[in-house]
């Protein structure tokens, strides 16, 4: 018995050690970003783990060097509208799939699965020419419209709705409520965790995504945060790049998602687990 307990203690100790090492490895790039953002020019590529003099002014310089606030506003506006649109279209579609009996649902669900697998990287040429025919390139419209409907959103909402008892909806119908009122007053309030998950995952996904904004916009005024970040390397590339300012800018770009993640971690975890287990 004694050896068993000893072995268990050792296993736990070993687990802690492995986890701590890997956590340190995970955090190192972030630490290095902050360290470099605070470093004076001379210390950027030095072997010093922590700069001798901290230059907080780097953040101010980076903030004024580029209109970060404009980029952030572009990102926030487009992403919030995308999330709102997806929430609306997905809730309606999922409600229809789960609670209304009609023919052709299997086909519709198959279509959703199909749409989920198609990445923008494979379809950007037709979407670009379509939007450019309507003179929408370099507008918020180009950034928002392609994502107003989301197969993933429908899929996730459907999963959340499936756990709501059908009897409840049936009872409301017998009481004479129409489908719209059932959705708004009964189903949505019971699906709050799913909604929170969708909102957070969606927002972070679109805030982070580079590919489509890179293609759909090319003016400074329309730049979103990831595109602005990518310009550090493609435009100021080479020796002239001031790494401490680039890293300060990187910190600005990352802070919003990190805050969202820390506040809503529960929902991120649920989102990942929900998609992998059920469905």
């Amino acid at each position: 018995m004694h050896t068993k307990r000893l072995r268990s203690t050792m296993a736990r100790g070993g687990a802690h050690i492995v986890l701590i090492i890997l956590c340190v490895m995970c955090a190192t790039p972030l630490f290095w970003m902050i360290r470099t953002a605070l470093a004076p020019n001379a210390d950027i590529l030095s072997a010093r783990l922590w700069p001798k003099h901290l230059v907080l002014g780097n953040f101010a310089t980076a903030w004024h060097a580029q209109p970060f606030l404009l980029f952030l506003c572009n990102s926030l506006i487009t992403n919030l509208v995308i999330v709102a649109c997806q929430l609306g279209t997905s809730a309606l579609a999922a409600y229809s799939l789960v609670f209304i009996p009609y023919r052709g649902k299997r086909l519709l669900f198959f279509g959703i699965l199909l749409a989920m697998m198609v990445p923008m990287q494979a379809t950007f040429v037709p979407i670009y020419s379509m939007l450019s025919a309507f003179h929408l390139i370099n507008t918020y419209g180009a950034l928002i419209l392609p994502f107003a409907g989301s197969a993933f959103g429908v899929f996730l909402m459907r999963q959340g709705f499936l756990s709501i008892p059908k009897d409840m909806v049936q009872a409301a119908r017998v009481d004479g409520a129409n489908e719209w009122r059932i959705l708004v007053n009964i189903v949505l309030p019971h699906a709050k965790p799913t909604i929170a998950t969708l909102v957070l995952l969606d927002f972070v996904y679109h805030y982070n995504s580079l590919f489509w904004p890179l293609i759909a916009t090319n003016t400074n005024n329309m730049r979103v945060v990831p595109v602005a970040l990518s310009y550090f390397l493609t435009q100021d590339a080479g020796q002239t790049l001031q790494w401490n300012l680039a890293m300060a800018f990187d910190v600005f770009a990352i802070v919003p998602v990190v805050i969202l993640f820390l506040l809503g971690q529960r929902y991120f975890v649920q989102g990942v687990a929900g998609v992998s287990l059920k469905g």
């Binding site: 956590c23 072997a47 009996p101 023919r103 197969a151 580079l210 293609i215």
Partner: protein, 311 residues
Amino acid sequence: MSRALTGVLASQPRVRRQIARQIQSSTQGWFMMLPALAFLTLFVFIPMAYVVYLSMFQSNLLTPKPRFVGWENYIHLLTAPDFAQALTNTAVLAAGMLLLSLPLALILAMLVNMRLWGTRVYRTVLFGPYVIPLVGSGLMFTLLFNTDGGLVNRIVEIFGGQPIDWLGGRRSALAAVLILSVWQYTGYYMLVFLAGLQNVPQHLRESCQVDGGGRWSTLRHVTLPAMAPTVFFAIVICLIQTFQTFDQVYVMTAGGPDGASTTLAYYIFEKGFQMYDIGTSSAASVVLLAMLALLTWLQVYMRYRWVGEES
């Protein structure tokens, strides 16, 4: 049912009301489906079909009017060394993710599942990289991999090595992209595995231990078999994600040096957006779509077998 009988039935008020209700609910169902369906049709289904159409034509800056060429673009892809290179690079990345990221994620999930003190903190830190924009982490890793004075080369120097031109080397550029991907995604797969582990019925594990099974044999004979669907799901998702690798390459290496780190998605972007070679780009898109379709089908099929009809 004969037509006469149907007619008789339809004339019954009760049946008529039922049919009316069916039609009404069917209209309502499609109506609520409409917004999502319209956007998906416009921005997913039509573009997907149109890409297949475009892949049969040749158009570029020199010949702005598209010319029908049939299978020629695909034949060109089969023989183009740069496409073969892009496919190989994507396969290497995928293999690297499967062999490095997934096993590491499984081990981490088991460690995090041990109910240790501080598990929440571990989980947060390990999952954290997943929510950071790839462009942002790409920028960080470009600095870490900097030839003179980047942290990675400093560590190489400590061990007595010579500084390596990571992002400029033919092999090391792709390795750098892989390392970033492992850093970015391992926490995500850890959560996927963790969810799977927490779904393994506790009584199975206990009964194995009662029968004298040790930690190791419980793991081998109970936990891992019960995890099979989750592991399969993780493999498929990992492949799907890796096939779409773009941001890392765009930021860190721009596909270079000389195509050594060009992935399939980057190839499509380069051909279509930078060289205006729409035919080749579209044909490569169709190849990507076909690979993703195969994986999606496999996943749906296997899930159907494991979980059953209503899921």
